[in-house]
């Protein structure tokens, strides 16, 4: 069962509203705008799912996913990547993300994808 979702995006507008949307579906959501703080946070929070943007300053989303998927402790956390460019689909598959959604997204598509990961 996925309950706790951690979202990481450097655009706080997208971050807040996506959080509210998922909360309206009953998920417990936490937000992280700074990608460089994400990995320690995942280790302590242990979310059921990570939703992460690709293009972010300092630490890019694909690098983070690569690190998480190599680490035994975090490899089991499902990851959905979301980004505005079409190449993100390829990037997501290369780094071993579990799914991908294009921005702007349809909330039904996103919740369907979340349910499929359960």
């Amino acid at each position: 069962m996925i309950k706790k979702i951690l979202i990481c995006d450097d655009d706080e507008g997208i971050l807040d509203i996506t959080g509210l949307l998922l909360e309206s579906y009953g998920y417990q959501v936490t937000l992280e705008p700074d990608s460089s703080l994400l990995i320690p946070r995942i280790r302590s929070e242990k979310p059921d799912l990570l939703i992460i943007d690709i293009w972010m300053p300092i630490l890019m989303g694909d690098e983070i996913v690569r690190i998480l998927k190599k680490d035994e402790e975090t490899a089991g956390i499902p990851v959905i990547m979301f980004s505005a460019s079409r190449e993100s689909k390829r990037i997501a598959s290369e780094v071993g993300a579990d799914d991908y959604i294009a921005k702007p997204f349809n909330i039904e598509d996103l919740t369907n994808k979340i349910r499929a990961l359960e």
């Binding site: 655009d11 997208i14 996506t18 949307l21 309206s24 460019s85 190449e87 921005k103 702007p104 997204f105």
Partner: protein, 515 residues
């Protein structure tokens, strides 16, 4: 010769049997161009062509299969000949005719065309075989004879005018044009140079006159590709990248032609500095790429806000309020597509378009796209006939984009509503998708241009909004799959957009695993 069983001579399935291989080899050795058209399919598409036909026309097999033979006629009227062909095909008879055809590069050739029907035991027309011979040389010899006769007549009248003697004319011409021009002797010594060349490359006249081209400016012009360009003995042009000159690295467009001046062979080298032009083009592409990405970020927030509002709105709320939100969402979708298209253009221009290939049911995809549009456009009847493939390996999302775009175009340019017919077929080792509408049509003069980016037909522009990139993107997607996309139409009579895709296309693209 033993007659080939028509079941064996199947163009659709994998060809087996030595007999057929021998036969096909023989056909490929033939000097005459050979085509076979399938009369059971709409518009009699070509299902077979031999090597000689490719050589004769300059088109590759990928560009030939699926077309009707008239693609060689260009914009030429050929009315009389066309009438003869039409009647012959209609009656299922045989004929030989001389017709003006055009190669891929636009040059004219005279085609002696022999058409012969293939029928089954019951006399039903199955295929037409076309045998084509290039008789241009004979035709030209006749013409040349007539021209020579005219010249002699002119000379007798004393109307010869020698341009070469008029040095003034040449000098004025050289100084008027924008390009940098060099006139060289056969052994590449510089005989004449214009001011544009001296100014563009910061060189003095005495540094270049009577010098060998490859020795001037410390051999800076001794470039491999310039040498090979000069080796070819005909008019030629080419782009030379990263040419190091006194004024920095340049991108040059070079055109070479040859001329006899005072009975000596001379070479004219015209150089256009396109460095800045390319830089502006590159900056435009970068801008498109960044802008479209940046535009999507606020759009994502707006989209999410609307969706959140939709979820928060009480059930008993006014329907008008709910409709307004649905409309807003629809228009954001439209804006998103527009931005995606712009992003695609910038990617195509920078060669970054990526295909994510996988096997899918192409016919089902076309049915699905048609279904989507049927719901939104109830005054159109979208019919689908034939079948192409239920197992095609390609980028499903991208090809869906092509079909959707072509259908939307048909709808857009058939404002009165009505029939739109989709025909799916398999021809040899290709699949073909044709979409026919009965709307405005495309004038011949625009039929190639509509596949260029940002091109809009002037008179259409005002009435039908759009930015002119959909067909460009579609064409590029089809090309990336090794296929061809084209239109056949006459203004006011509707249009048929068709594309073919090879079933066995292989290139360097990695097959991406679908998520």
């Amino acid at each position: 010769m033993k007659q080939v069983d028509k079941n064996k001579f199947s163009f659709s399935d994998q060809v087996l049997g030595e007999e057929l291989i021998f036969l096909l080899t023989a056909l490929n050795i033939s000097k005459a161009g050979l085509t076979i058209t399938d009369c059971s399919q709409p518009d009699d598409p070509i299902v077979y062509c031999n090597k000689a036909f490719e050589n004769l026309t300059g088109y590759s097999r990928e560009e030939i299969i699926g077309h009707n033979c008239r693609f060689l006629q260009g914009n030429d009227d050929n009315r009389q000949e066309r009438e003869v062909i039409k009647n012959t095909l209609h009656a299922g008879e045989e004929c030989t005719i001389e017709i003006r055809n055009y190669k891929k590069n636009g040059s004219l050739f005279w085609n002696e065309l022999h058409l012969k029907p293939i029928k089954d035991d019951l006399g039903k027309l199955l295929y037409y075989v076309g045998v084509q011979n290039d008789i241009t040389r004979q035709k030209l010899a006749d013409q040349q004879l007539r021209i020579e006769r005219l010249k002699v007549e002119k000379q007798v009248l004393g109307h010869t005018y020698n341009f070469i003697e008029n040095n003034n004319l040449l000098n004025t011409f050289l100084e008027t044009v924008n390009e940098s021009i060099l006139i060289l002797s056969r052994d590449l010594k510089i005989l004449k140079v214009n001011t544009s060349f001296l100014k563009t490359f910061h060189i003095a006249e005495d540094e270049v006159l009577n010098q060998y081209l490859f020795e001037i400016d410390h051999c800076r012009w001794d470039l491999m590709n310039l040498r090979s360009l000069l080796d070819q003995h005909h008019v030629n042009d080419s782009i030379l990248e990263d040419v190091v000159t006194r004024v920095g690295k340049k991108m040059l467009k070079v055109k070479i032609s040859q001329i006899f001046l005072e009975k000596e062979l001379n070479i004219i080298l015209a150089i256009e500095d396109i460095t800045e032009l390319k830089e502006i083009d590159r900056r435009k592409d970068d801008f498109l790429n960044v802008a479209s990405h940046e535009l999507k970020t606020p759009l994502t927030t707006i989209m999410a806000c609307i969706q959140l509002t939709q979820r928060m709105i009480p059930k008993e709320a006014d329907d008008k309020l709910k409709d307004t939100l649905t409309k807003a969402k629809e228009h954001i979708d439209k804006l998103e597509h527009l931005i995606s298209d712009l992003l695609d253009v910038s990617k195509i221009k920078t060669g970054k378009i990526e295909l994510s290939k996988g096997a899918f049911n192409l016919d089902a995809m076309v049915f699905h796209v048609a279904d989507q549009l049927r719901k939104a456009h109830s005054n159109y009847t979208i019919n689908i006939s034939g079948y192409a493939s239920n197992y095609y390996v390609g980028d499903k999302q991208r090809l869906e984009q092509v079909v959707l775009h072509l259908l939307k175009n048909s709808i857009k340019y058939t404002p009165s509503g009505g029939n739109i017919n989709i025909h799916l077929s398999r021809l040899s080792d290709f699949i073909k998708v044709s979409i026919t509408d009965y709307g405005l049509g495309v004038d011949y003069q625009h039929q190639k241009k509509i596949f260029e980016n940002f091109f809009r037909v002037d008179e259409v522009q005002k009435q039908y909004p759009g930015i002119g990139i959909g067909l460009y993107i579609s064409d590029q997607i089809v090309k990336n799959h090794g296929g061809t996309l084209w239109v056949e139409s006459a203004a006011g009579e509707g249009a048929t957009f068709s594309f073919t895709l090879p079933l066995k296309f292989k290139n360097d693209d990695k097959e991406n695993t679908d998520l």
